[in-house]
């Protein structure tokens, strides 16, 4: 779009004003929040340059959240697909997902800024639980906005947040789901900005959130890259992550952006299939627009009204996406491919049965897509071809969905779905790639 986009290491970074590739991102926000966003930008920049802050962050990640997460060689899965499959075990982090990295970073920054209260939005509750956790640890007041539809569907996560000391506010407006919770959190923030920090849950939203959240999550990729080199002496041939708002994906990808030989794959929620219109494959099927403060791909109608997204995975069910992903896609550095609900659920069962790891359905999207990449690379380059997948979270939270999908949970009856078939199917050729 412009010739002045930098090349080299800065090519994929945002400029001073928060634009990636001059177009994506930015800060489309009420003036009332600009001072707070400026203050946050300033504080984040200073903090990242302050060795003491970085050391504090690393310490809390290590001692409390349990990082570095393991890089795990999934041997049975590798055998099935004919290439080396490595899983970055973010599911073993405290609270069970990569999200703890982001909230601990933001909460540490909140303390540094002298604020005493945090707010957060949440969809199914993962970011809300993570935020409540960080708030408990740092002794901050915490209010979580959650769509009223979601508070009723996810009473367990509501309870978790309450037990952790957070106040959960059900949001009745709009579609009463995640995007409305974001709107409501922003409304709170407009009124409370002097003492309140907004812990945004993904690498989207207005500048500096996309860059700041990425910085707090980039340990995923930095660790994985070093672990892969150390454990296997090579860089991976491809890295893969699921993309909702995009925090885990950008946290993984960042370390590999300059490694030109490494394929970068983001897998978007394809829902019932992109062709049905019931999906959340924002980059693949959305159009450029502005949502929640950033220019990015958005699922929208002809008039620019946001369209409801659909995914079996609550954490990916968002009609926008972090602007850096839009840029990485537009710039051709990363490939974003939809994975349907059915493909993700099959991958969930496959990983469970072959490796004893029940992934979050979000992460199962990455597994499903990455296994096809692995099959292709294995065919092209042999069994040492290496695909590194970010296992962004564990699936405990998703058992309700799995019960419905597979007909599980009744010991008298046994599962309805033929789970035996899953392994057999997995051994056959690429399919998600072929479908695109």
């Amino acid at each position: 779009m412009s010739v002045s986009v930098p090349s080299g290491p800065m090519r994929y970074e945002a400029d001073e004003r928060g634009y990636f590739g001059e177009t994506w991102g930015g800060r489309f926000m009420p003036e009332a929040l600009v001072a707070a966003l400026d203050e946050l930008t300033e504080a984040w920049r200073e903090a990242m340059a302050d060795d003491a802050f970085v050391a504090d962050f690393e310490r809390v990640l290590r001692d409390y959240a349990g990082t570095p997460s393991r890089l795990y060689h999934a041997e049975r899965l590798s055998e099935l697909v004919g290439a080396r499959v490595l899983l970055k075990r973010e599911d073993l982090n405290h609270t069970g997902a990569h999200k703890i990295r982001n909230v601990l970073g933001q909460a540490l920054l909140t303390r540094r800024m002298g604020k005493t209260r945090v707010i957060a939005e949440t969809g199914a509750g993962q970011h809300g639980v993570a935020s409540a956790t960080a708030a408990a640890w740092f002794d901050l007041d915490c209010t979580v906005y959650m769509g009223a539809v979601d508070t009723r569907r996810q009473a367990l996560n509501v309870a978790r947040m309450q037990l952790l000391g957070a106040k959960v506010v059900p949001v009745e407006s709009g579609s009463a789901t995640l995007k409305d919770a974001i709107n409501e959190a922003l409304r709170d923030w407009v009124a409370s900005v002097d003492h309140t920090a907004y812990l945004f849950g993904t690498a989207a939203g207005p500048h500096p959130f996309p860059s700041m959240v990425r910085d707090f999550c980039r340990g995923i990729g930095d660790e994985a890259r070093a672990q892969c080199l150390e454990q296997y002496g090579v860089l991976p041939d491809a890295v893969a992550a699921c993309v909702g708002g995009g925090s885990n994906a950008i946290g993984l990808f960042t370390a590999f952006l300059e490694d030109e030989g490494v394929e970068i794959h983001g897998f978007e929620p394809g829902g019932d299939g992109v062709e049905t219109g019931r999906h959340a494959a924002t980059i693949h099927a959305g159009e450029a627009g502005v949502l929640h403060g950033a220019r990015t791909y958005v699922l929208q109608d002809e008039d620019g009204q946001t369209v409801e997204s659909h995914s079996i995975s609550a954490g990916l069910d968002y009609p926008g996406v972090g602007p850096q992903h839009s840029w990485l896609s537009a710039a051709g550095r990363a490939t974003y491919t939809p994975v349907t609900d059915a493909q993700a659920m099959e991958a969930m069962a496959l990983l469970s049965r072959t490796e004893g790891i029940i992934p979050a359905i979000e992460s199962a999207h990455a597994v499903a897509g990455a296994l096809d990449v692995a099959k292709r690379l294995g065919q092209e380059r042999g069994p040492d071809a290496t695909v590194l997948i970010n296992l962004s979270g564990r699936g405990d939270k998703d058992m309700g969905t799995a019960i419905e999908w597979f007909g599980l949970g009744d010991a008298e009856e046994g599962p309805e779905a033929d789970l035996e078939q899953v392994e057999a199917d997995a051994a056959t050729g690429p399919d998600t790639e072929a479908q695109q």
């Binding site: 489309f28 407009v190 409370s192 502005v290 403060g293």
Partner: protein
């Protein structure tokens, strides 16, 4: 079209503040919103803001959200908004569109500016665009001679207030409280100083909004501002009389009259 600043100039000449009234287009219907806005013009609004209903209105409180959502549910489209603009602008009162950014970007900024101007619109209020991220809009507005009404807030730095005053045309929208739209019991202590800071930054008129619902409050604000913006209170008139248009219009008329008296009694 004329800049809204003419309405402020007229009011200033009359020694009073201007009354700026807001309703979303398409509530309860497109035609109904036209009748409502014309009623407000007739009863004494000096300028009109027409809201473009949007799915993700982060600056709106529950009242405006409810009406805008109903308008969307009723099928209102961007083009309908231009129709409402045209119908209101015909009255001669400066008529602005208040809108979040994405529908405009989607419509095409250039095309929008042209069509808005052609409909007789005076310009646009942009709650989620600040001048430093509004380059495309500023260019288009300048080309089509449209007002660019940006917001300032109590939290804005002096530097940003000055920048906003400089980049605005028509007037500057001063958000009187830290918070979203919605009627409030008392107007804020933060508004006066904020208006003063805008004035220090240039001679564009300053209107204060967010929270005014009575003539007395309007009078209070009018004591230090060039204009008083009222939104949620008007919307409430319609919401409270849903299904009874005549009653809704009566309520609108009564409120406008009260507010118009308010902006007039301020300096006496």
């Amino acid at each position: 079209m004329t800049s809204t600043s003419t309405a402020f100039a007229t009011a200033r000449e009359e020694g009073r503040a201007a009354l700026v009234g807001y309703l979303p287009a398409g509530y309860p219907t497109v035609e109904g919103s036209i009748r409502a806005l014309r009623t407000m013009v007739e009863a004494g609004c000096d300028a009109i803001e027409i809201g473009l209903p949007y799915s993700d209105p982060v600056m709106d409180g529950p009242t405006i959200q409810a009406a805008a959502q109903a308008a969307l549910d009723g099928g209102v489209r961007t083009a309908d908004v231009l129709r409402v603009v045209e119908a209101v602008a015909e009255t001669g009162v400066p008529t602005l569109v208040m809108t979040y950014w994405n529908p405009i970007e989607r419509y095409g900024v250039q095309r929008w500016a042209a069509d808005l101007a052609a409909a007789g619109g005076a310009g646009m209020i942009t709650p989620d665009i600040t001048p430093d991220h509004g380059g495309e809009w500023i260019a288009a507005a300048d080309e089509h001679d449209l007002d660019k009404v940006f917001l300032v807030a109590p939290s804005s730095t002096d530097e940003r207030v000055a920048m906003t005053a400089r980049e605005s045309r028509g007037f500057v929208y001063a958000a009187a409280v830290m918070g979203v739209t919605g009627a409030r019991e008392s107007s804020s202590d933060l508004a006066g100083p904020l208006v003063a800071r805008v004035r220090a930054g240039g001679d564009v008129p300053v209107a204060v909004g967010i929270g005014v619902s009575t003539g007395d409050q309007a009078a209070e604000v009018a004591a230090y501002a060039d204009g008083v913006i009222v939104g949620s209170a008007f919307v409430r008139c319609l919401l409270d009389h849903e299904g009874d248009e005549a009653a809704g219009l009566d309520a609108l008329r009564a409120l406008t009259t009260d507010l118009a008296e308010g902006v007039r009694r301020a300096r006496s």
